[in-house]
Each structure stands twice: as structure tokens, then as C-alpha cells.
């Protein structure tokens, strides 16, 4: 099953490699991994999207907690949560395509953030499924380039991951 794991770790050199190394050394899947400092610059917040049986997920959480730099770990799937991912897509926008692209972008509540002769760059935020759906709905030949951030997640209501 797909799990989203959130963690806080010391914002130190090499911290990311400890997490990435753990996943590769123990053969765990990483679907995506995002990381950036928090409002407290000594801490980094990481969101890892992974998948595995309950036993594997239990081990992943334990192994992450065992890393000396990791302060707190939360399996967001243990409760209600929200996930969002950002995608930038560069598409062909010539002739009839131009109007079609604008319309699709509006339907998915994306924004055109760069306009050039023959191309649009569209910004789209949402769950991974929504971003997938947008890609599916475009003519493959129109897609010039895509870039996705991977999911960020946060618990709903008073589920708070903080030191």
C-alpha cells in the first residue's frame, strides 16, 4: 500500500543522503521525496512517498527513527491528511492548440505562467492523481516537458508534526 511519511530532521549536511541511503540499502521503494528547511532553519521537513506491506512500512518508520539526525517521524496514513504536488508543464501552443491548451488549463485550475511563441508553461497543483489526469487529457504530441516536485503532505486539523 502507498504511504506518505513525513519527518523532521536536523538541517545538516548529508542528512538527505542518510535517508536516501537507508532506502536504497534496505531495498525500500521511494516513489518521491521532497525536502526543504522549515520556519525553524535548523530543521528540515521531508515528505517521502513509499509503498510496501504493513510490515515493511513498520520497519521503514523504525529505521527512519533510528537515524541519529531524525527528530520525528509520522506516517500520515495513520490519520487524515492532505497531499499536494506541484507540476510545471511546457506544451505546444500553436494555432488551434493555443485555445485548446488555455481551456484545458482552466478546467484543471492550472495557471499559465509563461507564454512564448508557440509554447505555454502551465503550473498545476493538486494530488498526484489530478496531475496524472491532466497529463492524460493532453495530446501526447503537445507535451514538450514536464517537471513534478513529488508530494508534500500535512495532517488535517490538529494533527501537527512539530518539535
Amino acid at each position: 500500500m502507498r504511504h506518505i511519511i513525513s519527518l523532521l530532521m536536523e538541517n545538516e549536511a548529508g542528512a538527505l543522503s542518510r535517508v536516501a541511503g537507508l532506502f536504497s540499502a534496505r531495498g525500500y521503494n521511494i516513489e518521491s521525496l521532497t525536502v526543504a528547511p522549515t520556519e525553524d532553519p535548523t530543521l528540515s521537513r521531508m515528505t517521502i512517498v513509499t509503498s510496501g506491506s504493513d510490515d515493511v512500512i513498520e520497519q521503514i518508520i523504525k529505521q527512519l527513527n533510528k537515524l541519529i539526525d531524525v527528530v520525528k517521524v509520522l506516517d500520515l496514513n495513520d490519520g487524515k491528511f492532505i497531499e499536494r504536488e506541484l507540476m510545471l508543464v511546457k506544451v505546444k501552443a500553436t494555432g488551434a492548440f493555443r485555445e485548446e491548451m488555455k481551456r484545458m488549463c482552466d478546467i484543471f485550475r492550472g495557471r499559465i505562467i509563461d507564454v512564448a511563441d508557440g509554447t505555454f508553461t502551465i503550473e498545476l497543483t493538486g494530488s498526484g492523481h489530478k496531475l496524472d489526469a491532466f497529463i492524460e487529457s493532453l495530446d501526447k504530441a503537445a507535451i514538450l516537458e514536464t517537471v513534478r516536485t513529488g508530494a508534500s503532505g500535512i495532517g488535517r486539523g490538529d494533527r501537527i508534526l512539530k518539535v
Binding site: M9, E10, A13, G14, S17, R18, G21, A25, D55, E58, Q59, K62, Q63, N65, K66, I68, D69, V70, V71, V163
Partner: protein, 579 residues
Amino acid sequence: MSDTAHSHQITGAEIVIRCLEQEKVKFVFGYPGGAVLHIYDAIYNQDHFKHILVRHEQAAVHAADAFSRATGEVGVALVTSGPGATNAITGIATAYMDSIPLVVISGQVPVPAIGLDAFQEVDMVGVTRPCVKHNFLVKDVKDIAVTMKKAFHIARTGRPGPVVVDIPKDITAHLSAFIYPDTVEMRSYNPVTKGHSGQIKKAVKLLLEAKRPMVYTGGGVVLGDASDALIKLVKALGVPVTNTLMGLGGYPSTDKQFVGMLGMHGTYEANMAMQECDVLLAVGARFDDRVIGNPQHFFSKSRTIIHVDIDPSSISKRVKVDVPIVGDVKSVLAEMNELVATEAPKQSPALKAWWEQIEAWRGKLCLNYDNNNGLIKPQYVIEKLWEVTKGEAYVTSDVGQHQMWAAQYYKFDQPRRWINSGGLGTMGVGLPYAMGCQFADPTAQVACVTGEGSIQMNIQELSTCKQYHLPIKVILLNNRYLGMVRQWQEFFYENRYSESYMDSLPDFVKLAESYGHVGMQITKPEDVEGALKEAFDMKSRFVFMDFITDQKENVFPMIAAGKGLSEMILSNNIGAEDL
């Protein structure tokens, strides 16, 4: 404080030395080189600890590791950058797999040179990351003291392990005040020590009500100094107990409640009792592949498992457990003892029947061997070693058949006496391990049980032993084969002995003599005991004993890889299913 601090500026190298002094380090095992020259200069001017000059950095880490295994203190090794650092890796990985507390200080190229492929540069923090508990790269002289404090703290607390501190050369020349922190505060590292009381109560209740209880303990009992608490509990409950390879000595081997080591080369009675018990108490052990074999086979019998371990990630990793207890094994066992004392356990008829069953298994005499073919049997050498040393020696081993025979036939009655590489299975540890033990206990009898393959992997340390007059006794069980490889080739590869014959061996007697040691070769069974006595009577001499043993001898019992605990092979012709 700042006035004092400013008036006492010392170099980073001197700070390193002062940190080791503050940690009451007695020995540093190391090898100098360019990146650590400032540190070695500071060592020259101090007398707080003794530096032991090894002949290869791998041996420095192994010796520090054995010093720690023998004493319980944090072992310290010092190596230079680049090849010095990479030579240390096998030692670090060995300590990591067996949870041995070490601080390994490695030199690094100067900070401005890092990343430029400088001479003798290697990314030590990157290279060691998968085989350390934690590691640090110090980039400011002001951070040395606090980093060293953290390194020792992390190494010795929780589930212990090696910590690498990588220090660039320029940092060791920079000046700073020395302020060693009294305590360490780390929001990200606070290992649990006290077990959950409710879980402990539940565990004791299960053990008292069990019909076929069994206790299985590992290296955690030895590392956690929990041997006395374990003995008390096992005695009070009247239950059988087995130790893993790493746990030997955690419970006295000569006691009648001890059923021997378990696992791939464990005794018939220990493995059968593991398989057939109804309540299993696992303490400081991790159900690894060499211990319970195939987990599916293990689950073919149902039992309730209580697992006590300091490391939550060791619990339910390979085997799902029913009552997990995360905590320091000594404190958890002490709490169990208090509860058992108030419950006053009685010897139930079920427990009596269970012991009768165990005695029946014991009656197979699975460690018996044929000793009548005129050749020296390796098992016989170990039995005599045990007699001659009165079971009190530190016994180190390398890896292979000789290691298993030492584990099976030397009856360890005390913890921290059996020193071997259980997890990583590192050939070449034996001699440097013996050095570490001898430094830890200079007047003790130290025996290095080894094979002709393993001993040659760190044979250069004969020179270190000469320099420091270490009266180690090397017990070489020389069968001219990489014996364990040969055994597997015999069983599973139709006797195709691919590259397992050791041709062109040196004359070990002359080799030992060339280092100024005593060399002996023993070829007849009747000479074994006398030679051992003679060697151990030479209390101040290093004696290299080359026992020419039966080439065909195999280690039994044996569970083939992937098989279950009760699927043992008991001799060349007899499988457990035949019994």
C-alpha cells in the same frame, strides 16, 4: 569563562587529545599518515593514553573493537585520510554488525581541498554511512570538542555502535579554547532504556504459565552487562536457555539449564527446543538467518514470543513477536526478576515433562565426534584448550569451521570472553582481536583460534605482537582448506572443491620465529595436550601453534541455508529426519 578560554588557545590536534583524556581513553589503536600528522604530534607530547601502532588500519579498528568487547568501554582507533580510512572500513562494518561501541577518528584533506580529488582524499562520511551508527565531518576547530562528546555518547548509549569523526588536517592546526561539555543534549537522539511495565508483567505471566518455556539470548545480554540478571531469571524460572553465537558466555555454558548454542551449527537440543517451545523469551537477540533459519519453517509451530531489545527496529523485523519490550535488557530483566520473586514459581508437571523431552534430545549427544583415526581432530584441540586454560581464557576466533568448533566446544562461563565476528563474519579478525583482549587484560590467557586461511588475512600483526610483547597463543587449526567453503562444496556442489585448497602455505613455525615468537607444529593427537600446556606455561611469550588437523572434518550439527531449525544434518550420514 571567555577570558580563560582566550588565554588558553590550543590546536585542534591538542583538543582531540584532550577529548580522549576527558573520556578516560586508555588505548588508541592507529597508524599515522599525512592528514593526521598534527594529531600524532600532539600524541607525542602526552601520556594520558597509550598509542598502539598496528601494521594495517583494519587491524587497528579490530583491536579497538576487541578492547571494547572485552572491557565494555568505547574502543578508539585513529587512521589517516584516503587509504588509511578505507582500510578501516572492514573493521568499522564488523563492529557495526555486532553493535560494538567505537569512535574512529579519521584524518581528512584540508577543508579547501575537499572535493577536489586531492591526494589521499576519500569521502569518509559518504563511504562509511551505511556501516556506522553515525558519522561527523568536523569543519570548524570550535566544533571538535562537542562533536567528540557526541561521538562517545552516541557510540555507547542505546544500541551501541561505531561512530566516525572525520577531521580535516587544517582544522587540527587551527587554534581554539578547549571546553569539553559535561552533558549532551540531542533532541533527535534519546534512546529508550526502561521497558514498558505493563508489557513486562504480561511477559512474566506468560513465562510462569508456559508449558514449554524457552529463553534465547544474544549479544545484547553481553553488551548490556545483563548476565547476572539473566542467570537469576533463568534459575528462578527453572527453564532451558540457549545463547546465540554472539551471546555465548551470557549464561554459563557448564550449567545444566544451558542447552548449548542454537542456529546453523547449534546443538540438536537447542534447536529442537526453539522449534517446539510454547513461550519464547528472546533477549538482546535478533532472530537472524543463521539463528532460526527459514522463518516460514519456524512459524510452522505456533508459540508466543516475548522479545526484549534496546533497538525497536530489531523487533518484528524477521519474526513477528507477540510481546515486544523495548528497553535496556539489564533493567528489563531486573524488573522481571522482581515480579518472578513475588510470584514464587513452582516446578509444574508440564515443565518437568518439557525437561524430560529436552534430556531426550540431549541424549543424541550431537557434539560427539569420532576421535580414532590417528589424525588431530579440531574439536579435540578446542576441548583440550578449554581444559588447559580452565575455561578462563579470552578466546578470539576468525571465521569458518574453527570458529564454529570454538563456539561449540569451548564452554564459556563468563561474558566478554568469547570474541568473534558474528554478524559480518570477517576473516582476519582473530589476531587483532587477541591483541585488543591482551591490552584489555595484560595478564590474562588469550587464545586466538584460527584457520590457515583467516590468519593470513592479518598475519602482519605478528609484528605488532612483537613490538608490544603480547603473550598471545595462536591456535591454528590447519586443515589446508578453506574448511567451511570446502564443507559446503562437499554438501552442495558434489565435491567440486573450487579454489578452496590452500596451496603454498608458509612454514608457520619459521614465520613465527622470524618475528621473534615461539613456533610449534603439532601433528599427533597424543601431543595436543602437552603442547598446549607447554605453550600456556610460557606466560610471557607469543606462541604460534600450528595444529595439522584432519582435512575431512566437518562441522555438525548443520542446518543448510534456507532450511528450518529441526531440519538438522547431524553427521556425514545422518539427517535429523533419520532419527
